[in-house]
């Protein structure tokens, strides 16, 4: 069954709550992208309440997992909000954008997005985090360096619902995924960066879309009815958070196509209804992304990377100079953490093979992780900035999406092999 809205049963309580919160955040963001006005934030908040009541079962509140979720969310949010905005990008990009939205009463061109004097603020970046921060300040009626951090903290709710739903079968690997992701992304989320949030949702999208795709392709992967909807919601959230999505998405599409082609050779077919629903689902999920792309064009906003002849020449020169490419390769591929994750991935693959569980979804996620890594390596080579400086200031953050994706792959491989319930 390929369902976008899961049937009500206790196994789907947490995914439904997550979908309700994610849906409300996305509707809120889309309305502001279209109409600009922050007044509409009330619409978003209202929809959030309605969606939660309609979509989520009260049974979820009486599960011990809900207590874990409450504790984790409260602890993470307190750490975020009770610490002033001090990270470099948090100040120069994300909360500067939020401040511009707050003082303009919405996402309007007159905030000065195209001002060349602050080109370093990368006005072209997606606005989900800044919009949520601005809405929080707007509801309070003032700006300070603490309270706006509550807005982006709300991004944690859907992810926690979905991650804790995975622990329902008491698989140890679900806790491993939860611990790994939180340990990796929380420090940056706490400091007001968006890199952790985007890595979290891109990684989770691979878990749910990988499993859903595997089930559609006839593999016994333990998919839930909600997986397709949750995976698409993860993609939608990630596309509104940060530009890593633009590197990740083609990588995931390519891996998914290869996975589909390989299964096709084994006789698996996606029926027309599934294709139609998948295309419609992607169209809905990426709608905010397209709206923001249109706004960028209307307001004349340009990113720092232009894929023109000069960029290609730069990349070719860097490939041939004998220094830059090895430097990029060392930083991104021979990084000790990357090598450790690759080694654990190989171990997970070996264990899954030994258990004869379907490898497809896990390999889909790992292939996406590697393609993403290749993609960001290429971007460093194409970059107009000095590569060593850019690697030193950003590699630890751009690698987060690789880690999130690889963790997803490891989880997909281990969770099916785990016993006795695996």
């Amino acid at each position: 069954m390929f369902s976008f809205w899961p049937a009500p049963n206790s196994d789907e309580d947490f995914p439904r709550w997550g979908l309700a919160f994610a849906g409300a955040l996305l509707v809120d963001y889309t309305l502001i992208l279209i109409f600009g006005s922050l007044y509409l934030s009330y619409v978003g908040v209202g929809l959030l309440g309605l969606a939660a009541v309609a979509g989520g079962s009260r049974r979820a509140v009486f599960q011990w997992r809900f207590g874990v979720l409450f504790l984790l969310f409260t602890l993470a949010t307190l750490q975020m909000v009770l610490d002033p905005i001090s990270g470099w990008d948090a100040r120069s990009i994300w909360f500067f954008h939020a401040k511009m939205i707050f003082y303009s009463g919405g996402l309007f061109e007159n905030a000065g997005w195209a001002n060349p004097a602050w080109a370093w603020a990368h006005a072209v970046y997606p606005k989900l985090g800044p919009v949520l921060a601005a809405q929080t300040a707007w509801l309070a009626g003032f700006w300070n360096e603490y309270l706006p951090k509550l807005g982006p903290a709300l991004l944690g709710l859907p992810a926690l619902f979905w991650l804790l739903a995975e622990t329902r079968n008491r698989t140890v690997s679900a806790w491993l995924l939860l611990f790994w992701l939180l340990a990796k992304v929380h420090p940056l989320n706490r400091d007001g960066y968006m890199d952790g949030w985007v890595a979290l949702y891109l990684g989770l999208s691979l878990v749910f879309l990988g499993r859903s795709l595997g089930a559609r392709l006839g593999e016994s992967v333990g998919a839930r009815p909600s997986d397709a909807a949750v995976g698409l919601a993860c993609l939608a959230l990630a596309s509104g958070i940060k530009s890593e999505f633009s590197v990740f998405f083609p990588a995931a599409l390519f891996s998914g196509a290869v996975y589909g082609a390989l299964r096709y050779r084994a006789g698996a077919r996606l029926d027309r209804r599934t294709w139609r629903r998948a295309v419609a689902g992607l169209g809905i999920a990426l709608f905010p992304f397209f709206i923001w792309s249109i706004r960028q064009k209307q307001w004349g906003l340009q990113g720092w990377l232009k894929l023109d002849g000069a960029a290609v020449q730069r990349a070719l020169a860097r490939l041939g100079d004998g220094q830059t490419f090895p430097r990029v390769f060392r930083s991104l591929w021979l990084n000790s953490e990357v090598l450790t994750v690759l080694a654990v991935s190989a171990l997970a693959l070996a264990l899954a093979r030994a258990r004869r569980v379907p490898l497809g979804p896990g390999l889909f996620a790992l292939a996406t992780a590697l393609l993403y890594l290749a993609g960001i390596s290429l971007i460093y080579l194409l970059s107009p900035f000095e590569v060593s400086w850019q690697l030193n200031t950003s590699a630890n953050r751009t690698l987060l999406t690789f880690f999130g994706s690889a963790y997803a792959g490891i989880y997909l491989l281990l969770s099916r092999g785990e016993g006795p319930k695996g």
Partner: protein, 129 residues
């Protein structure tokens, strides 16, 4: 029927889980800033994270009734100061053509400008276009 050996996978995952406890503890180990609770509900609280020159600049610009400002070339060359001034002072806007310039107190006053206000770290110059 499922193949046997699931316990081995569980054992490996459990070992990985044990190793992940330390990084998790480190990630969440930062003390909660309870002393800042009242600041969360106070307008403009937390501006002390900005360099003192930014707060002084705001004071000078407000005294002069300016809504936009330009930065001296010396400040523009200082990435930290120029970015903190731009975002920290918003909604006062950085505009290249603004008639009011912020400059360091050690910077010489250009011939086309006159001193408007002077602080400890920054001075406000009137530079008619």
């Amino acid at each position: 029927m499922k193949p046997r050996g699931g316990w081995a996978v569980t054992a490996v995952v459990s070992v990985l889980l044990a190793f992940s406890l330390r990084p998790l503890g480190k990630a969440f180990g930062k003390p909660i800033g309870w002393k800042n609770v009242s600041a969360v509900f106070t307008p403009r609280a937390g501006e002390e994270v900005l360099p003192p020159a930014v707060r002084e600049s705001r004071h000078l610009l407000q005294q002069a009734g300016a809504t936009e400002f330009a930065l001296s070339s010396e400040i523009l060359a200082d990435t930290l100061m120029s970015q903190r001034l731009t975002e920290g002072l918003y909604p006062l806007r950085l505009q290249v053509q603004a008639p009011v310039h912020l400059a360091g107190t050690k910077e010489p006053i250009p011939k086309t400008c006159s001193l408007k206000l002077r602080g400890t770290d920054v001075q406000l110059l009137a530079c008619p276009q």
